[in-house]
C-alpha cells in the first residue's frame, strides 16, 4: 500500500466539500422542505378555518332566512289588514256618497214636484176660469171672482 500525499489531498478535499455542502447545499433543501411543510400546515389550518366559517355562515344564513320569512309574513299580514281597511273605508265612503246622492235626488225630485205643483197651481186657475166661462157661458166679472179663484188655487 503506497500511502502518500494523496491522503492529505483527499482530507483537504473532504473538508472543503463538507464545508461547501454545509454552507451551500444542505440549507437549500432544508429550506424547501421546511417551506413545503409550512405550506401544508397552513393549508390544513385554512381548510379547518374555512369549514368553521362555512358552518357559521350556514347557521347565519338559516337564521336570516328565518327572520326574512317571519318579517315577510308580518308584511303580508299588515298589507292584508291595510287592504281590508281600505276596502272598508271605500265601502263606507261609497255608502255615504250613495246616501248623499240619494238625498240630493230626493231633494231634486221634491223640488221638481213642487215646481210642477206650482205650475199646475198657476194653470189650474186658468183652466178653472176657462171651464167656468164655458159652464156659465157668460161674462163673469173677473175681478169679482179673483179672490175666490186664488183661494181655490191655494187649496190645490
Amino acid at each position: 500500500m503506497d500511502i502518500n500525499l494523496t491522503i492529505i489531498g483527499q482530507s483537504i478535499a473532504f473538508a472543503v466539500f463538507c464545508w461547501f455542502c454545509h454552507r451551500y447545499v444542505w440549507p437549500l433543501f432544508a429550506n424547501v422542505l421546511e417551506e413545503r411543510k409550512r405550506t401544508i400546515a397552513d393549508g390544513l389550518e385554512a381548510a379547518a378555518q374555512g369549514e368553521l366559517k362555512l358552518e357559521t355562515a350556514s347557521r347565519d344564513s338559516a337564521q336570516q332566512l328565518e327572520e326574512a320569512k317571519s318579517s315577510a309574513a308580518g308584511i303580508i299580514d299588515q298589507a292584508n289588514r291595510r287592504a281590508n281597511q281600505i276596502i272598508d273605508e271605500a265601502k263606507q265612503q261609497a255608502q255615504v256618497e250613495a246616501e248623499r246622492i240619494m238625498v240630493a235626488a230626493q231633494a231634486e225630485i221634491e223640488q221638481e214636484a213642487n215646481r210642477a205643483r206650482e205650475e199646475l197651481r198657476s194653470q189650474v186657475s186658468v183652466i178653472a176660469i176657462a171651464g167656468a166661462e164655458k159652464i156659465l157661458a157668460r161674462e163673469v166679472d173677473q175681478a169679482a171672482n179673483e179672490e175666490m179663484l186664488t183661494q181655490l188655487a191655494a187649496e190645490l
Partner: protein, 284 residues
C-alpha cells in the same frame, strides 16, 4: 483494449498495470514530475500524489455538490420536478438516518453524512465502468502525448487506500475534536483509562480502549477500500483471463457488485454518524 493489452502483456502485467497509479511527485534527484515507471513511483515515497484517483475524487465530489446546488437553487416548494424529487429523496433519506442515529445538536453532521454518502457512492460507481474504457483511452493519450510505455490510469478512487483512509482519518479527527469539546480532555482520557473496569485496572482498560478507538478509522477506511479493491481486482481478472469472452462473467459480477457499491457507501455514512454520535455522548 483488454484484448489488445492481453496480447502484448501477460495477465499479471495487465493487472499490475491496472492497479498502478498515475503518480506525480518528487523524484530522488529533487525535481517534481510524473513517474513514468512503477519503480520511479515507488522511489518517490510519500512525496507523491496520485493524479488519477485524486483527480477523479475531486471531479466526482465537485460534480455532485455543484449539481445538488444547481438543483437546490431551482428547487420549488410547490412544484418540484422529477430531478428535484430525486435529490430530495436522497436528502430526506440522509436526514432521516441522521435524525435517528445522531441524538445531539450539530448542524454539521447531516451535510457531512450527505457528502459522505453521495461522494463515496459516485466514486464506487466508477467501478462499474468497464475496466479498459477510460483507462485504455488514457493509456493511448499517455503513449502519444506524454511518451509513456504503459501509462496507468485508475478511475475508481475508492480502490486507493489514500482516498478511503483520507476520509476515515478526517472523521477520526472529528471524533477526537468533538470528544474533547464535549467531554473535556479529562473526560476523553478518562473514558479511555477508566472503562470498562474502573481505576484499578487502568493499564488493562487502556489496552482495550485505545485499540478500540484506533480501530474505528482504520476499519472504516480499510473496509471501503477492501470491498472496492476486491471488486476491481475481480473485474480485472475476468477481463485479463477471458479476453473477449469476459462479457457474461463481467455482467454477472457487475450485477453482484451493484449491491456492494451503495452498501459500502451506506455503511461508511452510518458508521460516521454512529461514531460522531458517540463522540458527543457525555453522560455515563
Amino acid at each position: 483494449m483488454a484484448e489488445a493489452g492481453a496480447e502484448s502483456q501477460t495477465v499479471q502485467e495487465y493487472i499490475v498495470h491496472h492497479l498502478s497509479y498515475l503518480t506525480w511527485g518528487r523524484h530522488p534527484d529533487g525535481h517534481w514530475g510524473l513517474a513514468h515507471t512503477p519503480e520511479e513511483a515507488a522511489e518517490m515515497g510519500f512525496m507523491a500524489i496520485h493524479v488519477d484517483t485524486m483527480g477523479w475524487s475531486i471531479a466526482l465530489g465537485a460534480a455532485f455538490l455543484l449539481w445538488f446546488r444547481w438543483v437546490g437553487l431551482r428547487a420549488s416548494a410547490d412544484n418540484p420536478g422529477p430531478i428535484q424529487n430525486f435529490v430530495e429523496s436522497i436528502f430526506e433519506f440522509v436526514d432521516a438516518r441522521v435524525t435517528e442515529g445522531f441524538t445531539h445538536k450539530n448542524a454539521l453532521i447531516a451535510p457531512l453524512a450527505l457528502t459522505v454518502l453521495v461522494w463515496i457512492l459516485l466514486m464506487n460507481l466508477m467501478d462499474l465502468v468497464p475496466v479498459d474504457w477510460i483507462t485504455g483511452i488514457a493509456a493511448l493519450i499517455g503513449e502519444h502525448v506524454f511518451g509513456f510505455d504503459h501509462m496507468p490510469f485508475k478511475i475508481v478512487p475508492t480502490t486507493d487506500p489514500n482516498i478511503t483512509m483520507g476520509m476515515s482519518l478526517s472523521i477520526f479527527v472529528l471524533i477526537i475534536w468533538y470528544s474533547i469539546k464535549h467531554k473535556g480532555i479529562g473526560g476523553f482520557l478518562g473514558e479511555l483509562a477508566f472503562h470498562p473496569f474502573g481505576k484499578w485496572m487502568v493499564p488493562f482498560n487502556l489496552m482495550i480502549e485505545v485499540p478500540t478507538l484506533l480501530a474505528k478509522p482504520i476499519s472504516l477506511g480499510l473496509r471501503l477500500f477492501g470491498n472496492l479493491y476486491a471488486g476491481e481486482l475481480l473485474f480485472l481478472l475476468i477481463a485479463g483471463l477471458l479476453g473477449l469472452y469476459q462479457l457474461p462473467m463481467h455482467f454477472a459480477w457487475a450485477v453482484f457488485h451493484i449491491l456492494v457499491v451503495p452498501l459500502q457507501a451506506f455503511v461508511f455514512m452510518m458508521l460516521t454518524i454512529v461514531y460522531l454520535n458517540a463522540a458527543h455522548e457525555t453522560a455515563h
